[in-house]
């Protein structure tokens, strides 16, 4: 009856509060260790110094070319190209560093505790396994988050030059933070799964490579296959594979800065999603699945204006829906309603820019949640995995309610000191 005296006011809220304070406990301990001494500050300083140096280096490299180009009227404006250049370089460099550092902070989170034999002490406390895992992840993310946020002023240099907007910077930050979260959680998962930190680290970086390079290779492989048996619509590999690719998400963010959505990165994204960026000025308007060529003001100019059966050049316009051929005297809208003769079917057009980074963010957040959940399960001692989910209603310890069916085989009636204490005669 000793346990029943605990206050049970609102179990759900008090459980949440307990979880929160447990997470804080772990975080405080982890961060105390991490910020001990000079190491954390030195690392941060070096990181920021590198970024600043890189921003300056980019400026030095780009500035002359950009000025020249703008003089001859090529690029819209020298200042903007400098800004875009710096933003691009900083974004990718930060992404690279975060991809390396985030897993490094978590691959030892659990396995190091195992190796240093501190895990048993930790697990034998009433801390929920979930709180331990989440606390460890958040503590690692707190430091990486600090690095990412501390670099904002350096990225903000681009505002002096223009080209990238605050929105671009926010997107960049979201992608970086979500990368840290996702890769950190993957590291944590392997740390919980595998006994040795070394092996966990290797596997984590393998997983990072799969996300960054593996997905691209798989996508290319698929697109080769897809092209081979391409009939009509399915000319592309499933782009969903690339939703978890950090590099592509950052390309997407950076592509958002390209003036007028024209540039190499947009073209690349367009190829992947199937949207034709070169037509962005004019292009295609679709009514249901029926599409018409339009001018840059959205007026329908074809193919209704073309002669029936006339060749519509689709090779350079892999846009969506069904392109129909109409009689020349019929207005295009009527043509759509009457259903003209389909002459080609092509993929649905999508705006390529801003397509990947939100999907990437959601995917990585989902990966992080899954990885954390699995880690929780792995931290619980073997055989007790399911115990922790059971709701505890009755805290008072009643005699076992038949759940333990097995009776002890020996001396069932003697709960006291075993009755078979040998007598002196046995030994001689």
């Amino acid at each position: 009856m000793t346990a029943a005296a605990r206050p049970m006011a609102s179990p759900r809220r008090s459980a949440a509060r307990e979880f929160g304070s447990a997470v804080r406990t772990i975080m405080v301990k982890e961060l105390r260790g991490r910020f001990r001494g000079r190491r954390a500050f030195v690392v941060l300083t070096i990181y920021l110094g590198l970024l600043a140096l890189l921003a300056y280096g980019t400026y030095v490299l780009i500035a002359p070319t950009a000025r020249q180009a703008s003089q001859f009227g090529g690029a819209p404006n020298a200042s903007a190209s400098i800004g875009i250049g710096i933003f691009t370089v900083l974004s990718f460099f930060q992404l690279l560093l975060v991809s390396f550092i985030a897993p490094a902070f978590t691959t030892g989170a659990i396995s190091l505790e195992r190796e240093k034999q501190t895990l048993d002490l930790l697990i034998s406390t009433p801390l929920r396994p979930g709180a331990i895992v989440v606390g460890k992840l958040l503590a690692a993310l707190a430091y990486i988050g600090l690095m990412i946020l501390a670099a904002i002023p350096i990225s903000a240099i681009v505002f002096m030059y223009g080209g990238a907007t605050v929105d671009d910077l926010i997107r960049q930050q979201v992608v970086l933070l979500v990368t840290a979260l996702g890769l950190g959680a993957i590291g944590l998962f392997f740390s919980a799964l595998i006994k040795r930190t070394q092996a966990a680290t290797v596997l984590t970086y393998c997983a990072v490579l799969v996300l960054t390079i593996g997905t691209v290779l798989i996508w290319i492989f698929f697109s080769i296959l897809a092209q081979r048996d391409a009939v009509g619509v399915t000319r592309r590999a499933p782009e969903q594979i690339l939703w978890v690719n950090p590099a592509l998400a950052m390309i997407d963010v950076v592509a958002g800065t390209e003036a007028g959505n024209v540039g190499g990165l947009n073209g690349l994204l367009g190829q992947i999603t199937g949207a034709d960026i070169t037509n962005a000025g004019g292009g295609v308007t679709c009514n249901g699945n029926v599409c018409f060529q339009t001018d840059d003001k959205g007026n329908v100019i074809g193919p209704g204006s073309a002669l029936p059966g006339a060749a519509v050049d689709l090779s350079s316009r892999p846009v969506g829906g069904v392109v129909v051929a109409c009689p020349p005297d019929m207005p295009p809208n009527q043509c759509a309603a009457n259903g003209g003769q389909p002459i080609a079917a092509v993929a649905q057009p999508q705006s390529a820019v801003g397509h990947f980074w939100p999907r990437y963010s959601i995917s990585l957040a989902a990966i992080a949640v899954l990885a954390t959940l699995f880690s929780m399960r792995l931290v619980v001692p073997a055989g007790m995995r399911f115990v922790f989910r059971r709701p505890r209603r009755q805290t008072a310890p009643p005699p076992a309610p038949g759940s333990v069916a097995k009776e002890p085989p020996a001396s069932p009636a003697a709960p006291d000191v075993p009755a078979d204490i040998a007598t002196a005669e046995d030994s001689t």
């Binding site: 447990a22 405080v28 301990k29 002490l121 073997a382 002890p408």
Partner: protein, 328 residues
């Protein structure tokens, strides 16, 4: 609430297998409040496994284990609030200071901030680390770490302490210190389950011991009980002064004395004296009588004691006996 309190530890038919190997083979154990119960057994006997089951770090294969009446399988979190556990091998977070280390564990157990502040000082006082409060855990000696780990297991004022080989690897001085601390804790009314593969170490502080071998609890009870139950096989050590003929005479004299078996010839030199070891199956009165008549017979006795008070021997005997029984 005049209900009888449940025993602090209660296991029934506790079994733990690792694959084919059986680590604990059906142990029934009851330890009451404010006892210091020593688990003794050779390495691999199942002590650590039992303790881990009680500390909710291992799920038993079969049987039941309860701490303060709470099943370790049904409500491990509640059990953990009632036990302080010190494993046989453990590490410390070496990037923390001593007080931070204790503070961390106190937080883990949900000890409130006001209580933490005072309690850490008290605990450090108990384990004799008060002057190391601000030192890094890294800088502590092994004995100090051991005591720190003991302090960590006390942060939430548990009813039961589970200490797995708390004195292993310590030098004699640190051992004595550890023992003193455990005595003090017993004085505070804690129930302590402590393990060792060295019986004498436990004998000095335990109220009762259990001898465990190959997963089975062979004997349990107070040391005295166990000793008495094994007295029949006792060996007396008699140290005598004198030349060879005197010793030879004493040997013959002793073999004819009551309760004495064949004299095991003692080539053991005990200082200037010669030590004779004689099997003896009498009780304490008989022993006293033997000594009296030995002196009355004119022998110069410098030492007379019972070899089986050496608990090692009890231990070997009990575990050895089991082997024979197992073979038969």
């Amino acid at each position: 609430m005049s209900m009888a309190l449940p025993p602090v530890i209660e296991t029934r038919g506790l079994v733990k297998r690792y694959g084919d190997q059986i680590a604990v083979a059906g142990v029934d154990l009851v330890v009451g409040p404010a006892e210091i119960f020593g688990l003794v057994g050779p390495n691999g006997a199942g002590k650590t496994t039992m303790m881990k089951v009680l500390a909710t770090l291992l799920a038993p294969t079969a049987g039941e284990a309860r701490v303060c009446g709470i099943s370790v399988m049904e409500d491990p979190i509640e059990v953990r609030r009632r036990i302080g556990y010190m494993p046989d091998f453990y590490g410390v977070y070496d990037d923390l200071r001593v007080w931070e280390y204790l503070d961390f564990f106190a937080r883990c157990y949900g000890v409130s901030a006001e209580r933490r502040a005072g309690m850490i000082g008290e605990l450090l006082e108990i384990v004799g680390l008060a002057d190391k409060r601000g030192a890094y855990v890294e800088s502590l000696s092994r004995g100090m770490r051991q005591r720190l780990c003991l302090a960590h297991s006390l942060v939430h004022d548990p009813a039961l302490l589970i200490l797995d080989e708390p004195a292993s690897g310590l030098d004699p001085r640190a051992r004595v210190e550890m023992r003193e601390i455990l005595r003090e804790l017993r004085g505070m009314g804690k129930t302590i389950l402590v393990s060792s593969h060295i019986l004498p170490e436990l004998a000095e502080m335990c109220t009762s011991v259990g001898i465990i071998d190959r997963g089975q609890l062979l004997r349990a009870g107070s040391i005295r009980d166990i000793e008495v139950s094994l007295r029949a096989g006792a060996v007396l050590q008699v140290d005598l002064l004198g030349d060879e003929t005197t010793i030879a005479g004493a040997e013959t004299w002793l073999s004819n004395a009551p309760h004495v078996g064949d004299v095991l010839h003692g080539d053991v030199a005990a200082g200037l004296a010669t030590r004779l070891e004689i099997p003896f199956d009498g009780d304490a009165n008989d022993q006293a009588e033997l000594l009296r008549s030995l002196i009355a017979a004119g022998y110069r006795v410098t030492g007379f004691h019972q070899a089986t008070s050496d608990l090692e021997e009890i231990f070997l005997k009990v575990t050895g006996q089991d082997e024979e029984e197992g073979a038969a």
